[in-house]
């Protein structure tokens, strides 16, 4: 087996897990101002307080994994995306500390509510910017970034920024459906329906704009027989969207979240198809940016043993906190 391929799959998996897990808790942060009173906001926050830290660890795994397995890609992408990466980091700092500070404050609770909402929204938006800039491609000569400091800022990346915010909100709303009851849950059902429509519009827009802007992507999707072979992806996306709509209408509790995750999964696959086999789109491939086998193998040995273990105890900790949440700071 090709080590580079294994790492490509493993890292994609880590990024997907990150997007789903931190996606729903960033989504809760984006939806936070719609919590009507302190009690509802408590419930929203309590639904993720024990797990957000583990969720965010997948981001470090993604960053660290990229550094370890594809150091050249890491050392090109990070300076190229300097500003959006730092915006994301600042935003994550604010929302992260809000969990701790909010429950320890009284008068200043509003400040940390704001920090949580603002940080979550900006972090999601910045991740969308990074995604958009990545899809568009970067100016690289001789293994180094040679573009400007603001090359990432384009209408396309702004669009992906908003799209990701809406996508995360959908995950957040469907997570709230699982974790809450009564009025807040009803509100989440409503929100999820609207968000689904908006997200579908964004998916359609990104799916049209990307091949129009990038001939490489158009070639990948619309050439024969790729068109036929890849057609299950958009078809399945449509099917999942319908199933999600139906589940929201029927007021199912878990199905909406699972279908939202499936929607992310399919979009992710679609993206992977567009980008394959590049780590720096349309210029440097996985193999050209990979670490040598001795480095990839050394870390892989650990990953093979540890990643299943991590998934195991992560599942275990989610199980401990299963069920509906209560308001208040009843914890520690």
């Amino acid at each position: 087996m090709d080590l580079v391929l294994i790492w490509a799959v493993l890292l994609s998996f880590a990024i997907l897990i990150y997007v789903i897990l931190d996606g729903f808790d960033l989504g809760i942060g984006i939806l936070f101002p719609w919590g009507r009173d302190a009690k509802e906001r408590d419930m929203m926050m309590n639904s993720i307080a024990p797990v957000w830290d583990g969720n965010e660890t997948w981001l470090i795994f993604g960053g660290g994994g990229l550094f370890a397995a594809f150091p050249l890609a890491y050392s090109i992408l990070m300076p190229a995306l300097y500003i959006p990466v730092l915006i994301m980091l600042f935003a994550l700092v604010f929302r992260g500390v809000a969990f701790e500070f909010r429950f320890k404050s009284e008068r200043s609770q509003g400040v940390w509510d704001g920090a949580f909402n603002f940080g979550s929204s900006v972090a999601a938006f910045a991740q969308g910017l990074i995604l958009g800039a990545f899809i568009q491609g970067l100016e690289v000569t001789e293994g180094g970034y040679t573009g400007g400091a603001l090359d990432w800022l384009t209408p396309f990346s702004l669009m992906t920024g908003f799209a990701l915010m809406c996508g995360y909100s959908l995950l957040g709303a469907t997570w709230l459906i699982i974790k809450t009851t009564g009025e807040l849950q009803q509100w989440a059902y409503q929100a999820a329906r609207w968000l689904l429509l908006i997200v579908l519009a964004w998916i359609a827009m990104v799916s049209l704009w990307t091949p129009l802007a990038k001939p490489e992507v158009a070639e990948r999707w619309f050439s024969w027989p790729n068109f036929l072979l890849l057609s299950p992806i958009p078809v399945a996306t449509l099917g999942v969207a319908l199933a999600l709509w139906h589940a929201l209408k029927k007021q199912r509790e878990r199905a909406p979240f699972i279908f939202s995750v499936s929607l992310f999964f399919l979009s992710f696959i679609g993206l992977a198809v567009s980008i394959w086999p590049y780590t720096i789109p349309y210029q440097l491939t996985l193999w050209e940016t990979a670490a040598p086998p001795e480095s990839q193998r050394f870390l892989l040995v650990g990953a093979v043993i540890l990643v299943p273990l991590i998934l195991g105890y992560t599942t275990f900790s989610y199980r401990i906190f299963k069920g509906k949440v209560a308001a208040g700071r009843s914890y520690y």
Binding site: T57, G63, L72, M78, P79, L86, L89, V97, L299, Y332
Partner: protein, 454 residues
């Protein structure tokens, strides 16, 4: 000095690192302290230990949150600000950081949730196990990060081809000649900083006559630990110093403020190093002491800074003064801890207000000493980013200085605000003291003690 992108990136990296290390320093020590307290609780079944645990676990949660968010920044900053360095060393350092994430971060993050939020949801034994796992996670994390950092000081197990490092032997990469010294030194620094913080807070309660039982218990336990840890750390520092002298003689020369290679070198208690004139002003020293410390022989030879050209020396005043801050704090800890022993022997430990005040004064010093120690280590390595092989100035990203200036200013502003908020909530928790209102969870029968009870 010109404020170019490289210098700004270095300042930003130093600033974000120094800010970050405060929190792991506290959480490594506190996690171990909480393991001890919870073990005492399970063993003695005294409510007292439950209240101590609940009190300090809040401070642990607060600090851990700060550590996580400031740590995420670092995992990206290698790439954003030192991209040439990440390209050159990614094959070596990347996997070490990857192991840190896989063996430590996930472990800590998942079980922290249980530790903080799952009282009553899980049995007491499983809760204790979670505390142990979190403590283990913090130590494993220190293991990998010190391994990666030590490799930059004493590189080994590599092959260098066209400016890129390739690994030839992983055990040599991890267990370099400085690693075990630095790992142990950092763990002891964490433990010492934590016990003095706890002792300081307990001393404050004793001074005010509040929370008598909790305060006495904490005061006695932490000062007892300090009496062993303080001399152990000084011994560890001494051994580490011998190793640094072997591997990085210019760092030691800067620490000692020694310009000329010589024998019977004095230890300078104070001096004002002058890099321009390559000499010191206002020297006050103990004759032959540096030779004695570094060579274990009063006649021993110590290498001076003039062995190399000025462009191969670190910034002498920074290293020199940071070293003294660390060293003097270390001896102060020893003094306070042993005065504690003496008072205990005289049965006066809980009766001397001046001693409570002394402990309050030393409470934050461990953190000052730890940061100073890191400054000695990292500035002392300069101008090298990888000792003897790669220069820091050649390894930064090619990004505009304005971008770095903006991000650095934002870091100073944001971290400044966060630090104030952290200290504010820390003191709020200290002032509030332990919460005796909540009932400790019941001791269930052995069969269900592991299982979630819901």
């Amino acid at each position: 000095m010109e404020f170019d992108a490289v210098l700004l990136s270095r300042i930003q990296f130093a600033f974000t690192l120094a800010f970050h290390i405060l929190f792991p320093t506290l959480t490594i020590g506190l996690a171990v302290f909480l393991v001890i307290i919870e073990a005492l609780w399970l063993r003695t079944k005294k409510d007292l230990y439950y209240y101590i645990y609940k009190f300090w676990v809040r401070i642990f949660g607060l600090s851990f949150g700060m550590g996580v968010v400031s740590g995420i920044v670092l995992s990206f900053e290698f790439g954003t600000n030192f991209s040439r360095f990440s390209e050159a060393t990614g094959n070596v350092l990347g996997p070490l950081l990857g192991y840190e994430v896989m063996t430590a971060f996930f472990l800590e993050a998942s079980f922290l949730g249980v530790m903080l939020f799952a009282w009553y949801r899980v049995g007491n034994r499983l809760h204790f196990l979670s505390t142990c796992v979190v403590a283990l996670g913090t130590i494993i994390s220190a293991f990998w990060i010190l391994a990666a950092n030590s490799w930059m000081h004493t590189p080994a197990g590599y092959r260098l081809e066209e400016g890129i490092f390739y690994v030839t032997d992983w055990s040599e990469v991890i267990f370099t000649s400085s690693f075990l010294y630095r790992f142990t030194h950092m763990l002891f620094a964490s433990f010492l900083s934590t016990v003095f913080l706890i002792a300081g807070v307990a001393g404050w309660y004793l001074l005010k006559g509040q929370h008598e039982f909790v305060a006495r218990s904490c005061f006695s336990l932490t000062l007892g630990l300090a009496a062993v840890l303080a001399p152990a750390q000084i011994l560890m520092g001494d051994l580490h110093g011998l190793q640094v002298q072997r591997d990085q003689p210019m760092k030691v020369a800067a620490m000692e403020g020694l310009w000329e290679t010589g024998r019977e070198v004095p230890f300078l208690i104070f001096a004002w190093p002058d890099q321009e004139k390559e000499t010191n002003h206002f020297e006050i020293g103990i004759p032959k002491a540096a030779s004695l410390i570094l060579q274990h022989d009063p006649e021993g030879e110590v290498k001076g800074l003039k062995e190399v050209t000025p462009d191969q020396r670190p910034n002498v005043p920074i290293v020199f003064f940071s070293f003294r801050i660390m060293l003097f704090s270390g001896f102060l800890f020893l003094g306070v801890a042993w005065i504690g022993l003496w008072l205990r022997w005289k049965k006066q430990l809980y009766k001397q207000p001046w001693f409570f005040r002394l402990c309050m004064f030393t409470a934050p010093l461990g953190f000052v000493a730890t940061v100073a120690g890191w400054v000695v280590a990292e500035v002392g390595r300069q101008p090298w980013i990888v000792q003897g092989l790669m220069r820091t100035v050649d390894m930064a990203s090619d990004i505009p200085a304005q971008a770095v200036l903006i991000s650095l200013s934002l870091f100073v502003l944001v971290y400044g605000i966060l630090f104030l908020a952290f200290v504010y909530y820390l003191f709020k928790l200290f002032r509030a003291g332990p919460d005796y209102k909540t009932e400790p969870p019941p001791f269930t029968s052995a069969r269900t003690a592991w299982l979630p009870s819901g």
